[in-house]
Symmetry: C3
Subunit: 343 residues, 3 copies
């Protein structure tokens, strides 16, 4: 009997199936330090225990996207080892801060299946949840991937396409217990611009760029125990290139967005996202953001802002698609998320 | 008087000599996070405090090989600074888990000396021990290295070749106090295969490969305070290449072996090892394992498995030597160790 | 209104101005592990809690230069974003150890201004202080930078050049409370040479070299939240090179100086420093030191030693300047500091 994991194929999934993912992970200040070494992350709430305590939290939690990467990474061996493409995200919600010392595991529920017309692949929709050592759900998100069939002759399952929200509403978002932005210090946070200073439709060019290195993207990806071959093995693709894990681009772009969005402290919702083009070592990643929406929350000191975050390698701020409606070739990422800011 | 350390030469060693190595080191969750960023390490016992606690330990200890690298690294300035070759290992035993916050130091005893027929070099055998802040021995191993003579005219010492075990027996192995695999969760661990599922002689191809980067091997090697020039200084060799620390290859191969040996949780014994060929940046490291032996332990929930771990850059699983009996040029490492698994 | 930070220009500074820098940072054993992965740091006081406790400290503090980099990094967006050159350092003093868990922030006072004769740039002198979560000053230093004017027509400010000490005297230095080198263990520290073994004028070649990698210098620089473009963006300079943060060279050289100065445990004063030439990836950094001065301290077990630390890429030990009085092109750094050693 073969001992290694061949991954699941399309016909191995069924709607309603629950898959508990392997290898729980205790995260610590070590993971936090590495996150800050790998990305130019400067949001004060994730940098300083003192700042986080002034915002009503017990200490600085793990970066929102670090929690996402750990939860996501655990699902890779079961969900996307044989994936042809990572098609989309929806309904991502951060429900509880992850603190140093917490142990995370993940579990996924298959919520949709649709065989492609070619008969060779199909789309699998899963809702993945991250749980801590107290079995509390710390975050959840839906993603869908195109997966190869093992046997093209296998019968197609009944098509089930889940009804997903195009975007979360503010009522879907959860603020961390105790969090307040009363007495928020914009000098320490790095910029004076509060929630009220941003207009819907406003585009912000984040100016800075970072050139991607092989060692860095591999360290980042391993840190989340995401071991998909294509990120690590230079012999895997014919062109000898290692594909950068899409989450590396997400974290890089989010960190770059500090310059203009320093007060968008926490990501609390993920509405959607597309990895528009592959990213490789040597690419210089830049970012721009567009304000898509704003909403008040239950706490008058906290405003919610919906942002499009675009990572690119040389586009004009605001430019996204060509005349044909397709993403421009220099666009890497188009992410739609909710963050919270001081009002 | 020269202030810098020229290292010891062959005539500086005498049988029975005790050498206390410098620079004690406190290891922490920071070192653990880096270990997991540098290697695709996923064995659950070293990843999750909750999993380790379910196995009867107070928390997740430092990775077995991280402890080895720290203890080994301390010995380099005294043992192998002028070494021509690292010839072998034997009788390596992990005696106590190393926990975050522990401080390690090492000491070596010279247990053998043999001048080579050329008169220019000799073989030094040492037993190196790692101790924690309570002066408890956490691990020990024998290694032997070929060292240059300072003065080729210096007289040869009496030849003493230690009587080393070709392999440890299960009675030589120590299980961590309190450890049990009763109630072991194979879903969380990542594979269903238990000790009883492995057959002596079975060969497992670990499938995945990782391409080596300069920045990564240097960070790893520095982390263990192993500062041998040849790993860091591109001007040191005529070909401008930096030689990868052999321990980097060991850790990479062990981490890759998760895929097929996810339940071989802890290394408890090192029977022997050879760095068959040098490894350089750009090489893609792969691994296969062969089950050499199996044994019951004093705890019925814990089985011992003796494994050959071979790191290579493109060999067939199971292939090791050419018709001439020498290691194939694409074999990097041939390691023989005992691990423990749930029965 | 533009949301991103354009940085300050020469005419934005006035003598007496206090600038509180953004993004406080909690440092941890994670940052310590990374420091030891990025530099071959082996000074025992910063490596081992047990060794530090034997020297009277509660545990091993963060490396002296790590504290400096954090405090310095915070000042970059306000002081040197539009700097043409980092001209000098003076009166740097380490006042309190920084321990894992401490949160650092920085503040600068403008203490001098001098417009250059070109009218296009000016020199800004600041005294920067790092404070912990108890508002205690942990370190301070003066630096001066050449900054562009936004408007060359803007009137020149009154010239104020601060009166800076060419070097601190031993009376200016602060020893950590409780520190003693009574019972200091030179075997654990790695070298037998004590304070009395060094002579003024003595030059020590530190022998080892480290070849610089892009991934490593970027990780180091990000870790200190120093986000100056020129270190990260390969498209920023016409030659496609990323300039290495000068602090990376300082830390590399200091770590290399272990070999010959293993007992120069803590840096307590920075007298001055010049980044003589730019450093780029691929350079192999070496170092030599010269003993400039020695002094007794208030504690008879602790001696102060004033050292010139020179980082270079292939110079002779002791060689610094050409016949024209300028730094040789292979000299990278000329740093003048006080350290403490066991007598």
């Amino acid at each position: 009997m073969a001992k290694t994991n061949p991954g699941r194929f399309f016909e191995d999934y069924s709607v309603g199936q629950i898959i508990d993912h392997a290898v729980p992970r205790t995260v610590s200040v070590g993971e936090r330090a590495l996150y800050h070494a790998l990305y130019p992350a400067r949001h004060a709430l994730y940098s300083s225990d003192a700042f986080a305590q002034a915002c009503g939290l017990p200490g600085s939690p793990m970066d929102d996207l670090a929690a996402f990467h750990v939860v996501f990474g655990k699902s890779v061996p079961d969900i996307s080892l044989n994936a042809v493409a990572n098609l989309g995200y929806a309904e991502g919600r951060w429900l509880l801060p992850v603190n140093p010392g917490d142990t995370l595991r993940s579990t996924s529920e298959v919520i949709g299946l649709k065989q492609n017309s070619s008969g060779k692949t199909g789309v699998v929709y899963v809702r993945t949840r991250g749980l801590n050592q107290r079995d509390e759900t710390v975050m959840e998100f839906v993603r869908w991937v195109m997966v190869r069939k093992r046997d093209v002759e296998a019968p197609a399952p009944e098509t089930v396409v889940p009804d997903l929200k195009p975007a979360l509403s503010v009522a879907d978002l959860t603020l961390p217990e105790g969090l307040t932005f009363q007495g928020y210090d914009t000098t320490l946070a790095g910029e004076p611009h509060r929630w009220g200073d941003y207009d819907i439709g406003e585009v912000i060019d984040h100016v800075d760029g970072v050139t991607i290195e092989e060692a860095e993207h591999m360290m980042a990806t391993r840190l989340w125990q995401n071991t998909a071959k294509v990120h690590f093995d230079a012999t895997h693709r014919e062109d000898g290139k290692r594909l950068i894990y899409g989450g590396h681009v997400i974290s890089m772009a989010r960190a770059l967005s500090f310059n203009g969005l320093a007060n968008a402290q926490m990501i609390v919702g993920l509405n959607g996202g597309a990895h528009a083009n592959p990213c490789f070592s040597g690419d210089t990643v830049r970012a721009w953001s567009e304000v898509l929406d704003k909403a008040e929350t239950s706490d008058p000191s906290v405003g919610a802002i919906r942002l499009r975050l675009v990572a690119h390698k040389g586009a004009q701020a605001g430019a996204l698609r060509g005349a044909d409606g397709k993403y421009s070739t220099d666009v890497l990422l188009d992410l739609d998320y909710w963050a919270i800011m001081p009002t």
